[in-house]
Structure formats: structure tokens, C-alpha cells
């Protein structure tokens, strides 16, 4: 069965410091991996995705994520955090090798990122 784990409920960083939000996944085939961000009282916004190719994926707002197949991880990173990055972040996975793909995603439980001035 497919699953996603975000081991940290909350991550606290100081503004200007690098940040990492962790995600590990489990799928039987090739993973398609996504990161979304949710600001208070808003819907989810797409940040970036990994489908194939370069293991380092760049996305919106200066975020990037590194795909590591051996560790089944897809951690979200940013070199220098901003207070405005404070939000709830979700990792999601789809099994890309399944036939009859319906686009369904499995989401992690979310990690709250708090960036302090």
C-alpha cells in the first residue's frame, strides 16, 4: 500500500537560516512526489514535484526538494527561510507505475513550519 510519513509535526527555524521539512514515502512502483503549502484559511498550493530525472527539483518561492531513492525520501528545503514561509506543508505521493492511473494522491499528515524573526 502507498503511504507518506512526515515525521515532524512542527519545524521551527530562525529567519535567514536554512530549513528542511522531511518526508518519506512507500510505493510499490515508481513514485511521483509532490509538495504543497497551505496558508491559514486557504486551500493547498502546489510547490513542486518529482517525476523523473534530476534528483534535485526546484519549485516556487525558492523551495527545492531532493529525491533520494535509496532512503525513499523527498525532503523539502530552502537555503534561507523567510517569516512569510510560515505555513502548513504537505508531502504527497502517487504510484506512477500503476495502470489505470486516476491521479489519486496519498498525503502526509502535514508539518507546520514556523519561521521566527
Amino acid at each position: 500500500a502507498q503511504s507518506v510519513a512526515q515525521p515532524e509535526d512542527q519545524v521551527n527555524v530562525a529567519e535567514g537560516n536554512p530549513l528542511t521539512v522531511k518526508c518519506t514515502y512507500s510505493v510499490s512502483g515508481n513514485p511521483y512526489l509532490f509538495w504543497y503549502v497551505q496558508y491559514p484559511n486557504r486551500g493547498l498550493q502546489f510547490l513542486l514535484k518529482y517525476i523523473t530525472g534530476d534528483n534535485l527539483v526546484k519549485g516556487s518561492y525558492g523551495f527545492e526538494a531532493e529525491f533520494n531513492k535509496s532512503q525513499t525520501s523527498f525532503h523539502l528545503k530552502k537555503p534561507s527561510a523567510l517569516v512569510s514561509d510560515s505555513a502548513l506543508y504537505f508531502c504527497a505521493v502517487r504510484d506512477g507505475s500503476r495502470m489505470g492511473n486516476t491521479g489519486k494522491l496519498i498525503f502526509g499528515q502535514g508539518t507546520t513550519l514556523q519561521v521566527k524573526p
Binding site: 493547498l44 502546489f46 517525476i51 491521479g103 494522491l105 498525503f107
Partner: protein, 113 residues
Amino acid sequence: NAGVTQTPKFRILKIGQSMTLQCTQDMNHNYMYWYRQDPGMGLKLIYYSVGAGITDKGEVPNGYNVSRSTTEDFPLRLELAAPSQTSVYFCASSYPREMGEQYFGPGTRLTVL
């Protein structure tokens, strides 16, 4: 493009009442989804549709129904509201490609008392 729109934004229901959550997208996406979000639980898929006239159950379909008569609209129906259905509901849509990301609406916050 308005993207994915949802109405209402907020609603309070009494136990046993029914209601329909509306979802419309103007991106001509074939695939549409309904999720519920509970604190600390992430998003759980309720129902999804791969095109007009085609719907299927997700992970938590009990207590809900859907229909898809047009590409644009995907309403979610609660027939007999229960306190366990208190949640935030999100509608999403995507292109029919394996690697297509989903686009989300702003959500409906539902409280059942």
C-alpha cells in the same frame, strides 16, 4: 481563470440535516476530487471522478455522495449530517496526466452540531 471555486465558505448544520457542497472548475480538467481535512490527519480522499458521468469512492466515502453531470461541476452531498463530518472540505482538479498536479479550491468549513 477563476480556477477551482467552492461554495459555501462556511456552514453550520444540525445533526440529521442535509446539504450540498458545490465545486466548479473552469480549467477543463477531467479529473476532480473531494477531500476532507481534519487537524493532524492530513487530507483524506472522499470521492473522485475521472470524467463526466464517472465517479468512484476514495478512502472515506461513508455518509457522502457525489455526481458529475458536467466536466465543470462536482457537487458533494451530505444526506444525514453527523458530528463526525465536522471538517474542512476541499475540492481539487487536475489534467488527466499521470504527472499532473492537483489544483485546490479555497475550502468549505462545515460544523455539525
